[in-house]
């Protein structure tokens, strides 16, 4: 009994729970910043930089404008962080799933989209002009990328006939990786993820030269630290999710049958996650920021129809 509780606690708090995610988040942020710096002919921050930033922000004074709604402003970053952490519980890592049930994909997608809404709210309740403009931008952006993203991620589920992430992963090990069947869906999901994480070229809600810091302009100290952490963990979960849905999870093809299966699983999964992360980093070096109307055009005229096409093709194949 006691050992059961202990077991659950360890899974939730250490591996693959909070501690593991935190480590991944900091590591990913460092790899990301370092890659971007290298591509821009710079050196970039040392490996401990994300940790130093986090600790520093956590111990700074936290002030808000007098007109801001203090309880909500305090709650929002916490709730967002909780949402992405909960989502992480259902995403398999290296072939291991903490919790899994039929339909967990939908829960994960829902939880992953929550921070965007809270981000908008954060801008709204912290009342600064830039916050409000940034907030409304983030909402507009949300409607542009979310639909294609959802369609792209539904396609593998329809293909497999299951809404459980671990089943979709398992299916890919026996057949082939989804990315080879649905390259278009993979691209859409990638673009959607970039939008979700508000990275260049979709960093519209927090565009420095237009709206200063966007919805987070007025946040400081601990609250800001939690917001940053939310985005970092969202990055980790998003990357893990895409690896699971499209790149076959920890499956390494013929190499999977080698001895030390557990190690190979971890290695395969880590490698794929790294590739995904590097793709994100490289993308953000290559583009200028889009305008919000250009993004809406892209979202509704290009991405959404493509998503529908992907879905339709998948359904047709399923029917045949």
């Amino acid at each position: 009994m006691l050992s059961d509780i202990l077991y659950v606690l360890i899974r939730l708090l250490v591996l693959p729970g909070f501690t593991f995610l935190l480590a991944c988040a900091l590591l990913f942020q460092w790899i990301d910043r370092r890659t971007i710096a290298r591509l821009q002919a710079r050196v970039g921050p040392p490996w401990y930089q994300p940790l130093a930033d986090l600790v520093k922000l956590l111990t700074k004074e936290s002030i808000l404008p007098a007109e801001a709604d203090l309880p909500i402003c305090t709650a929002l970053p916490l709730v967002s962080l909780a949402a992405v952490l909960t989502a992480a519980v259902y995403v398999p890592v290296g072939g291991h799933t903490t919790y899994s049930f039929e339909g967990d994909l939908i829960v994960v997608l829902f939880l992953l989209s929550l921070p965007a809404l809270f981000y908008f709210l954060a801008g709204w309740v912290s009342v600064g002009v830039y916050s409000v403009v940034g907030g409304s931008r983030s909402l507009l952006q949300y409607f542009s990328y979310e639909v294609p993203f959802l369609m792209a991620l539904s396609a593998p589920a329809i293909l497999t006939g299951s809404w459980s992430i671990s089943r979709i992963v398992g299916q890919q090990a026996t057949a082939t990786w989804t990315v080879f069947v649905q390259p278009l869906g993979f691209l859409l999901a990638l673009v959607g993820l970039i939008g979700k994480l508000k990275r260049v070229p979709f960093d519209i809600p927090k565009a420095k030269s237009e709206v200063v810091g966007g919805p987070l302009t007025e946040f400081s100290g601990r609250k800001l630290a939690l917001w940053h952490l939310t985005v970092d963990i969202q990055t980790v979960v998003g990357v893990f999710l895409l690896v699971n849905m499209f790149l076959g999870g920890s499956d390494l093809g013929p190499l999977s049958s080698l001895p030390l299966a557990g190690l190979m699983d971890a290695l395969g999964f880590g490698l794929k996650a790294l590739v995904m992360l590097l793709t994100l980093s490289v993308t953000s070096v290559l583009y200028a920021r889009l305008r919000i109307d250009q993004l809406a055009d892209l979202g509704w005229r290009v991405l959404a129809p493509l998503g529908m096409l992907q879905l339709a093709v998948t359904m047709l194949i399923g029917a045949v």
């Binding site: 403009v133 565009a207 237009e210 200063v212 200028a288 889009l290 109307d293």
Partner: protein
């Protein structure tokens, strides 16, 4: 739709210098703007009346940190005209060399700022990295990266030797390759073009009405350049093209500026090849005979005008500076009307404001 007032400045990541815009926006559309200046007003014109002719060279170099050399050049030319001084040809050449190096520095800096404002950090990093090469050359020549203190009344302070000239040539050649790359990027990079083409579009009439000068005017096809139209320093002995475009949008001004950089590099090579031997300065007296003079020069941003009046003492009786940013600000008032909020940084970059110059 409800109207919001969005303040831009005086502290805003978009601005490197303090000025303040109150933008009235309906959603993402800016309908009107109110400009407030004066944050950088240091009273330089008044200060200049209290300082001697020689001290003023030092003071006027600090009107603006980006185009510091052009200010001292214009001032010294004016004073030299009042003194009826013959400036040695070598000094004229070195002055011109610094002017062109400064133009390269200013234009590369501008490209970086534009890129940063549209969220393209990579181009910002690359163009500023290349700018370091010009700064190195200028430092090698004068000892200063930003403030060069090259001009003195009657000539220049520096006299580069053959070895220095060779190293400058090597630096310029390296820079030429980088500028070609940057031109290629500006011409062909999709996402940069999407953000700058058809944005901040001006017309010839608008430019004329607001008396806008420099790259912005040349981007609508107005073929004007003080270097060619009213040659000063050594420009009458050098050959160069005045770059014009017809688009009138921010993209066109970017093309003008990057091409001008290329042209400046070729000017530098010409100067290095034709550099006359001889003195670099003539002695100037402490007192300047009474009279008045207007001195003009082509700064990286357009025409700079100095009006100088002497009462025959060791100080100017009146010094008036007109910089290209003044008409640009007036044009900006029209440009920041009925545009998208996200285009504001692009339009602002396009006219290349230098508030330190305008406020003085």
């Amino acid at each position: 739709m409800t109207r919001v007032t969005i303040p831009i400045g005086p502290q805003h990541p978009l601005l490197k210098e303090p000025l303040s815009f109150m933008l009235t926006a309906e959603g993402e559309r800016v309908v009107d703007s109110v400009l407030r200046l004066g944050y950088v007003h240091r009273g330089i014109e008044r200060l200049a009346e209290e300082r001697s002719w020689v001290q003023n060279v030092h003071l006027l170099e600090r009107v603006c940190g980006i185009c510091s050399h052009i200010h001292t050049t214009t001032y010294c030319q004016g004073v030299e005209a009042l003194l009826e001084l013959e400036v040695p040809p070598r000094a004229q050449m070195i002055r011109t060399l610094m002017c062109e190096l400064e133009r390269i520095h200013s234009h590369l800096l501008w490209l970086g700022v534009l890129a940063e404002n549209v969220g393209f950090t990579t181009i910002f990093m690359y163009s500023w990295r290349d700018r370091e090469m010009v700064l190195d050359i200028m430092e090698d020549l004068s000892g200063g990266r930003i403030a060069h203190a090259v001009n003195i009344i009657g000539g220049v302070r520096i006299d580069p030797d053959a070895e220095q000239l060779d190293s400058i040539r090597r630096g310029l050649d390296k820079l030429q390759q980088q500028v070609d790359t940057l031109l290629d990027v500006v011409q062909h990079e999709r996402s940069l073009r999407v953000r700058t083409q058809h944005v901040g579009r001006t017309t010839k009439e608008l430019v004329r009405r607001h008396c806008v000068v420099g790259p912005v005017a040349r981007a609508v096809g107005i073929d004007e350049d003080i270097r060619r139209d009213a040659p000063y320093a050594a420009y009458d002995r050098l050959s160069f093209k005045v770059i014009t475009e017809s688009g009138g949008d921010v993209w066109a001004t970017a093309l003008v500026r990057v091409r001008e950089t290329s042209e400046s590099l070729s000017l530098c090579h010409q100067i290095l090849d034709q550099l006359d031997p001889g003195d670099v300065a003539t002695r100037a007296g402490r007192r300047v005979p009474a009279g008045e003079v207007v001195s003009r020069a082509e700064a990286p941003r357009g025409e700079v005008i100095y009006y100088i009046r002497s009462a025959g003492t060791d100080k100017p009786a009146r010094l008036k500076i007109r910089t290209p940013t003044l008409p640009a600000l007036s044009l900006l008032g029209e440009q920041l009307r009925d545009i998208k909020l996200a285009d504001v940084p692009v339009v602002l970059s396009g006219v290349d404001l230098c508030i330190a110059c305008a406020d003085r």
